[in-house]
Symmetry: C2
Subunit: 409 residues, 2 copies
């Protein structure tokens, strides 16, 4: 197995964890680290040396690290707004790119990302770890086996109470805070949309053609701050109005007639969920109740208070439908982040790069998933009007073949 | 307790059951029955006489029964399309009206319903039994107590696999079949929207201002028929295209900034659910997982696979928040239909009529809930454009007081 030399750009909370994770992978050498803050650069150096590797080059300017001859791949873990800018600069510098998830600020940057890839053909992957999620792959493989018949609708959510993280944004130099103050959109669509797009063959025989978005009022953060006036560190937030609606629902229609509903749900009290639901003519998968319901099971579930029954039977399908790496997951892998998804996502990237295989999640995926943020913002700002979704494949979606091998890391 | 003499119009499956139910109520006399089919009229006569009451007058023309001097109230259990027509004729004939649920075919008929009520002031109630549902009232009373803080979003669904019923529409003379062949809309919004509208004070301090709807492709009924070519009775359905999308999602925004999402989900395999979810700044109620989650419970629920935990703790709130009639429900009441909701709904209607109290679900409720069907049809037909929702109160929503007494039957 040959070494891959990488540069890591962005060493905030997520970058810190990701850097630790990739250093546990075989034959990955971190040659350079970068963050706009010097203390984070030092943190990056410390993590690398603690792992036993040589001290990496460090800079606060990403242009210094992406141009180095000893770097083959750039991993981008920065704030959302500069993901695409750094990805483009890296590809132009002849580097492979692994880019963390986030929404796009404009359609233009998505178009530029695609154009840059088509010009440079440098390997590019969006590191959407939820595409390697256990439930998501279980659902995908059940779909592919025809268990649910023709798929007509999928639902997902990013449902995660982030109030504390958002309100500590200034102290933690975290970018989410400014997004919640200034924007109002589906700001984080890819965790749920990515796996759904794979299920629905988006950009490979299908595409998303139109969306509408609607945002609720913004009350969650305001009330959260009101209730913590004495203890909150950032006093600027007291009395602050936030633009971001608490719940943003987005409906998407696909070229082949399927619909997708996704929900941003990050500023009200709740437990975490991605709410994946797959609906077909022969059955369904529902993550929030851990249910597989197949046509003909009707009698089993129609009890007197049947609408309360959580079936909780999905586990019995794991033997048949889970990839081996999920069946054989180790405690170490689980501990590497998000229950195992992180390590599988990185492994998929590095293996594809090393073996010169197509990337699991490519620029067309990235552009079409990320653009939902910018388009939802427009739909909401203009009173929930429908917005056309660009075809980033320039018509190639009609003939691009399905690519399920992505799940074989 | 004085007698109330009623006429029953519409004695199909639902009318048959409802007729049996109301005959078990004290002091309700069925003086007239009506259906466009003679055999159903005879069925109505038989049900009434079997209960021990005198044989009612019967006619296939509703105008004959609503004009009778011995009738005080008309109960309308017909197909959806003529609900409002018969309600208007009955009010004009000086009768109180109890009308079964369904969607409207046009905004015009909703406006006419309101105008007729304002002219005649005859008591009118839409018999939305789910407003008397156990879960729905539990949620309402928790909301009113402030348990969830400020409410910002509600979700609901009519999720009920009706494929068999729809495909037997010709044999059973059931109207749903023609709707599914010809229309494409949120055809049955009130079961979930009614309770949500009560929670959000719609027409009483708040109103629904705008919606967008999106329909998936229509595959469920087609595949259902394909798989049953040999056994299906109505051979006309073989190869038939249905207009109605399998899943219709509708997003609604309210004057006070709350959003509502509702889902029609009736032609794919699944178990029944209304999916009521209420989201506030301090907590949530979620029917599908039977969960009450309050701010501060976070640690309790964040286990390693926390997104799979069904909390299933709502029952512990019943002592404090359920109306007495739900706490003391008898097996007989449960057996009277839909687990008890039906009898509570009828009791509420008859008690309000007898005691000359305001009706629990009035024409403004009915018009604003039913109109969603016609408006969703327009949104879908025009490519998911936003549609303004009429204010049927003509501005009175701003000052009409909350009316929670409706739940005290």
């Amino acid at each position: 197995m040959r070494d891959i030399n990488v540069a890591v750009v962005g060493i905030g909370a997520r970058g810190h964890g990701n850097l630790e994770t990739i250093l546990k992978l075989p034959a990955i050498k971190v040659k350079a680290v970068c963050d706009i803050y010097e203390d984070r650069c030092q943190d990056g150096i410390d993590i690398v040396t603690k792992s036993g590797q040589e001290a990496p080059f460090a800079s606060c300017d990403y242009r210094d690290v992406i141009s180095r001859d000893d770097v083959e791949a750039v991993l981008i873990f920065t704030n959302w707004e500069v993901h695409i800018e750094i990805a483009i600069a890296s590809m132009k510098a002849g580097k492979a790119v692994g880019m963390e998830v986030g929404g796009a600020c404009s359609i233009e940057e998505c178009l530029k990302l695609v154009a840059c890839y088509e010009e440079t053909k440098m390997p590019f992957m969006m590191l959407e770890n939820c595409c390697f999620g256990k439930d998501e792959l279980l659902a995908l493989n059940m779909v592919r086996d025809g268990l649910f018949g023709d798929i007509v609708h999928c639902h997902g959510a990013y449902a995660h109470d982030l109030r504390e993280e958002i309100c500590c944004g200034k102290e933690n130099r975290h970018y989410r805070l400014e997004h919640y103050i200034n924007r109002n959109c589906e700001n984080y669509p890819t965790h749920e949309l990515g796996p759904i797009a794979k299920i629905l063959d988006i950009n490979r025989g299908n595409r998303m053609v139109r969306l509408v978005s609607m945002a609720s009022k913004s009350m969650g953060l305001k009330r959260y701050v009101d209730d913590r006036k004495d203890t909150i560190v950032n006093k600027d937030l007291i009395g602050k109005e936030f633009n971001q609606g608490d719940i943003v629902n987005t409906l998407i229609t696909c070229a082949n007639g399927e619909t997708i509903s996704i929900k941003l749900d990050t500023t009200l009290p709740r437990s975490y969920s991605r709410e994946l639901a797959v609906r077909g003519t022969k059955g369904l998968y529902e993550q929030s109740t851990n249910t597989v319901f197949l046509d003909g099971d009707k009698e089993l579930f129609e009890t007197k208070e049947y609408y309360k029954d959580t079936i909780d039977n999905a586990a019995k399908y794991e033997d048949e439908y889970l990839p081996d790496y999920w069946k054989n997951i180790t405690q170490e892998e689980i501990d590497m982040g998000h229950g195992g998804m992180d390590i599988f996502s990185f492994t998929a990237f590095f293996n594809a790069l090393r073996e010169n295989r197509p990337m699991p999640i490519d620029v067309y995926d990235a552009a079409s998933w990320m653009c939902i943020t910018a388009l939802s913002e427009e739909s909401i700002a203009k009173g929930n009007i429908p917005i056309e979704i660009p075809d980033f494949t320039n018509g190639a979606w009609k003939t691009r073949p399905r690519f399920d091998e992505y799940q074989n890391i």
